[in-house]
């Protein structure tokens, strides 16, 4: 069968834009996607004419986030594989294991690799061993405040004390000088114990500002990995990425080559399978320092697709079905410049307040070099229960300026009525001098008032 990748029926354990994105590749390959949907999404336009199974009520904890319901639904729908998309259960190793135990192929890495990458210091240890540069700090967890002080003196202030089992900024404290270490250690440790039941901390030098650069990786089950270049995601608001582009406008070619190679080696070393992303912080010297690995498809994967011409979802499915990578590194050609803007149902001039509601009008202009990934159409009601991403616009050009200009034209041609979106902010950013000259870091949005 033309395009057959090994699965006849694929369960899509996600919603909205990513669900529609996965289905698009399925359609092309002759795979039947079955959507697991919450009651809130049961009548969404992207589900029309599709097979779907209702997982449960709108609240994600009882639908998209319940591993047992998802597995039952997938089995019931006679699917043989599950694509978790991003968010929800995508990085839940227990869910990955559950799928495998029940005879569903999980489209992603093996549970134990996902688990390893989800743990702070073991992941760093693995990456250090594979030759990646890390943010200077403690090797493993700290024994006590005394050791924290010693390591802090070594790496230089300010430093960040972070919970080993942490997340979401809890169990985290900054020490700006030696006399702040002891109390920062106590506070972070106590908070970590209360929040995660684990008081252990590790320490990193605090790099303020810096740029966020990440590498797209793809690996098969046979120990072979390739990269699809880097993405620069420095335009952020509270760690939420707004604009992603490739290549990074500020990355030194030698540093790029060195890190890409090390990242591929590291991916192979940990036995990674599928699509994954390593995130780095670029410090003021231009060095890329490993932060974490996202063991899933990313929202901004389209940027790499546009530059490489590779459909990442298709490659994910092929790898999951046991096929060896069919692309060699030397066959990957990264061309031109791609930029993605995330259009969220938020009002950027009102503190990014979510704006759920009906799209009274929705029109996206068709233009050269513009790709639009979305699950919405006119009349769609943005539900209040989930994240606010409604659309991604990806602009491609021979160079950064062309890509930016195309993006501006597309966004200015975008017609939305009924809700506010982040589109006007994107236009302002793209037109700003700071953005055009690449003069910004993660602390502030270029061209947009704080």
């Amino acid at each position: 069968m033309a395009g057959f990748v090994g699965f006849h029926r694929l369960f899509v354990a996600n919603r909205g834009e990513v669900a529609a994105r996965i289905a698009r590749t399925c359609d092309r390959l002759g795979v039947t996607p079955v959507f697991g949907v919450s009651e809130a999404d049961a009548d969404a336009p992207y589900v029309e004419g599709r097979e779907s199974v209702v997982l449960g009520p709108a609240r994600a904890a009882f639908s998209y986030l319940d591993p047992v319901r998802v597995v039952q639904a997938a089995k019931q729908a006679r699917c043989t594989a599950v694509h978790p998309g991003w968010g929800f259960l995508a990085e839940n190793p227990r869910f990955a294991a559950l799928c495998e135990q029940h005879g569903l192929t999980f489209v992603g890495p093996p549970a134990h690799v996902m688990h390893l990458m989800g743990k702070k210091t073991p992941a760093k240890d693995a990456m250090r061993a594979a030759g990646l540069t890390l943010i200077p700090g403690s090797v493993g967890v700290l024994a006590d405040a005394e050791e924290a002080r010693r390591v802090a003196d070594e790496v230089g202030y300010p430093v960040l004390l972070k919970a080993e089992s942490g997340g979401g900024g809890r169990g985290m404290r900054v020490a700006r000088s030696a006399d702040e270490v002891a109390s920062a250690y106590q506070d972070a440790s106590a908070e970590a114990r209360a929040a995660f039941g684990d008081p252990r901390l590790y320490l990193e030098k605090l790099i303020e500002g810096g740029r966020h650069v990440e590498i797209q990786l793809l690996a098969d089950r046979y120990g072979k990995a390739i990269h699809l270049g880097e993405r620069d995601c420095t335009v952020q608001r509270n760690h939420q990425k707004l604009i992603e582009e490739s290549p990074s406008p500020v990355l030194d070619p030698e540093e790029r080559a060195r890190t890409l190679e090390a990242a591929v080696r590291a991916t192979e070393a940990i036995g990674y399978v599928g699509a994954g992303t390593m995130e780095f912080l670029m410090d003021e010297d231009g060095t890329l320092r490993f932060m974490e690995m996202n063991t899933r498809l990313q929202v901004e994967h389209c940027v790499s697709e546009e530059r490489s011409g590779i459909d990442l979802v298709e490659e994910q499915l092929r790898v999951a079905a046991g096929q060896p990578l069919r692309i060699r590194q030397e066959d990957v050609t990264l061309r031109g410049h791609a930029i993605e803007c995330r259009i969220n149902a938020e009002d950027p001039s009102d503190g990014f307040r979510p704006t759920p509601g009906a799209l009274e009008a929705w029109e996206v202009p068709a233009m050269d070099g513009i790709r639009v990934d979305t699950h919405v159409r006119q009349g769609y009601v943005v539900p209040p229960h989930y994240d606010s991403l409604i659309c991604k616009v990806i602009a491609y050009g021979d160079d950064r300026d062309q890509a930016c200009d195309r993006m501006i034209a597309a966004l200015e041609g975008l017609k939305v009525e009924g809700i506010s979106t982040t589109a006007p902010m994107h236009v302002a950013i793209l037109k700003s001098d700071a953005f055009r000259k690449s003069d910004y870091d993660t602390r502030a949005i270029p061209g947009w008032p704080a």
Binding site: P93, A97, Q101, P110, A111, D198
Partner: protein
């Protein structure tokens, strides 16, 4: 791919217990586990620093230093029999014998689990005390059952002679060690010995059946030392001269390799182990890896109430022992008083049997509830079928006991619990899959036997600091003893004040004695349990046991899950889907 339908179990600790109960449980347990740690440290220190210095003065390592060098860096030793002879004294002096003068431990060497048997040279130069031979034989039996390479670190001046009548003769007398050496050898279990010092008489035989025998320059092996040879003094004969490496490596061929010192010997033994086949555990993991439980195993210290009358949720215990807290409960609708099922430990499948606590449904009387923590007909049949299936399928079995016994009374007899019990006993007795038993709390009566207590030959039986091992609770036993003096409600019949006082005192005395006997250190002292462990460390121990069960290939049937008879049981029980 084989489907083993594990599902998530367990709740966060904060949902299981409120803050007050959690703190209370922990506070009650803490002193008991503190005592355990203190006593372990006491045993580990042997006869103390003076004897350590004496060993060092000879240019030798202490036994514990040898063990530390033998095991892979950064790994823990899992010692069994720590408290054998604890509190006993011997001879006229009287003398203590910490750990019965021999350390027996599961140790990871070059990535393989080994059983290490090491005479403690800081306790009477590694003499054999009463129970020392039994302790060594028990460790050899564990090695035999798991087919684990066995390492002997020999440094033994022979029997502690004043007490020879308690260690020389008998079915488990010292000579049985060499029979075990032979059985291990006959079963193809690799044995490697290092001889580090005195090896007199029996001490000389312990290494000699091993596949490879290393001798240091300070080692000698003799049937009888110079002390027993007539004229030895005038001829200036020494034991080292009679049976040192010069003699045994180069002339007699009783040993294989001569090495200068302890360090070299240990390193050489590590290289021997490295030549053995690597562990099959990773093969059986099938490319998957070990992942810790989703709910922290350390929380077991606090989830389990110290008071044996208080109940808890058995699933919460399993959730803190199984990988990712994923578990497949088999036949959940039958015999609710006990949970049977499969989970992974360190990436490897294991069968679990654990008693439920509190009240459960009663199939005979659907509107009523009955106490769990005992076995009824349905539960016994379920456990027997599950145990048999695990044996067929080659799945190591873990028995988690907190049980007061079998159901009793007219209904129980009419239902034939004796017969149900006998089927379970037959099953467990004839299983050859490795079984491991943990006495979480209560281990009473027929329940202790039915759930593979030590008399049913589990490879290892662990106790906790709150284990209560006895035929019945003290109060029940006092009632049984004074049965003829009691009425229907177990009240004293006689109205005579003196007689009443006497009976009451007698019952109290019985109760007190049973209470004292239930102390886990008593069981450990007399080898009625293999080790006492901290609740929070239970998962670590199970990881060792399960991995050790999967280590060796070629002798046990660890089947592909597609052909597990457990799946047939599921279909039969739940209907074909």
């Amino acid at each position: 791919m084989a489907h083993v339908p594990l599902t998530p179990i367990g709740r966060p600790r904060t949902d299981v217990l409120d803050e007050r109960a959690w703190r209370e449980h922990q506070e009650k347990l803490a002193p008991l586990e503190e005592k355990l740690r203190a006593r372990r440290a006491e045993v580990e220190s042997g006869w103390g620093d003076k004897y350590v210095e004496r060993v060092h003065a000879k240019g030798k390592l202490t036994t514990r230093e040898r063990l530390a060098r033998l095991a892979d860096p950064g790994t823990d030793l899992f010692e069994v029999g720590t408290f054998v002879n604890y509190g006993d004294t011997f001879g006229d002096k009287p003398l203590t014998s910490p750990a019965a003068g021999v350390v027996t431990a599961f140790a990871r060497v070059e990535g393989r689990w080994c059983m290490v048997i090491a005479n403690d040279n800081t306790v009477a130069s590694g003499s054999w005390w009463p129970r020392t031979p039994e302790k060594i034989e028990r460790a050899q039996m564990m090695a035999l059952r798991l087919k684990l390479p066995t390492v002997y670190l020999v440094d033994c001046s022979g029997l502690f002679l004043p007490e020879q009548s308690r260690s020389f003769p008998g079915a488990k007398g010292a000579g049985h060690i060499f029979k075990m050496n032979s059985l291990l050898s006959a079963s193809g279990v690799p044995q490697i010995a290092g001889v580090f010092g005195d090896c007199i008489a029996g001490g000389g035989y312990m290494p000699i059946i091993s596949d490879r025998v290393y001798m240091t320059e300070q080692a000698y092996m003799v049937i009888a030392g110079a002390a027993l040879i007539k004229g030895a003094k005038s001829q200036k004969l020494t034991s080292l001269g009679i049976g040192g490496p010069e003699v045994h490596v180069h002339q007699s061929g009783c040993a294989d390799v001569r090495v200068p010192d302890d360090e070299t010997a240990i390193d050489a033994i590590r290289r021997e182990v490295a030549r053995l086949p690597s562990s099959a555990a990773d093969y059986y993991r099938g490319g998957a890896g070990a992942i810790e439980p989703a709910h922290p195993p350390r929380e077991l210290a606090g989830i389990l109430p110290v008071d044996h009358r208080e109940s808890y949720d058995a699933m919460e215990v399993l959730a803190r022992l199984t990988d990712q807290s994923l578990f497949w409960e088999c036949m959940p609708h039958i015999g609710e008083e006990i949970v049977c099922g499969v989970g992974k430990v360190g990436g490897l499948y294991a069968g679990f049997v654990i008693n439920r606590q509190g009240l459960v449904g009663d199939p005979e009387h659907p509107d009523e509830h009955r106490p769990a923590a005992i076995l009824y007909r349905g539960g016994i049949a379920k456990v027997a079928a599950f145990s048999r299936a695990c044996n067929d399928d080659g799945i190591p079995l873990i028995w988690l006991q907190d049980i007061s016994g079998f159901d009793i009374g007219t209904e129980a007899e009419r239902q034939g619990l004796l017969a149900y019990g006998s089927s379970l006993i037959y099953t467990n007795s004839t299983n050859d899959v490795p079984m491991f038993t943990v006495l979480l709390r209560k281990a009473s009566g027929a329940g202790y036997y039915a759930m593979s207590g030590l008399p049913y030959d589990p490879v290892v039986q662990l106790s906790t600091s709150i284990s209560r091992l006895s035929v019945m609770e003290g109060r029940t036993l006092a009632i049984a003893t004074y049965n003829s003096k009691l009425d229907d409600d177990f009240e004293i019949v006689t109205q005579d004040e003196d007689e009443r006082r006497e009976i009451a005192e007698g019952m109290r005395a019985v109760e007190k004695r049973i209470e004292a006997d239930m102390d886990p250190y008593v069981a450990a002292r007399q080898m009625d349990t293999d080790e006492i462990v901290e609740l929070g460390a239970l998962r670590d121990w199970l990881e060792v046991f399960v991995e050790a069960s999967y280590q060796s290939t070629g002798h046990r049937r660890i089947k592909n899950p597609r052909i597990w008879s457990l799946h047939d049981l599921r279909e039969l029980h739940e209907g074909i889907r």
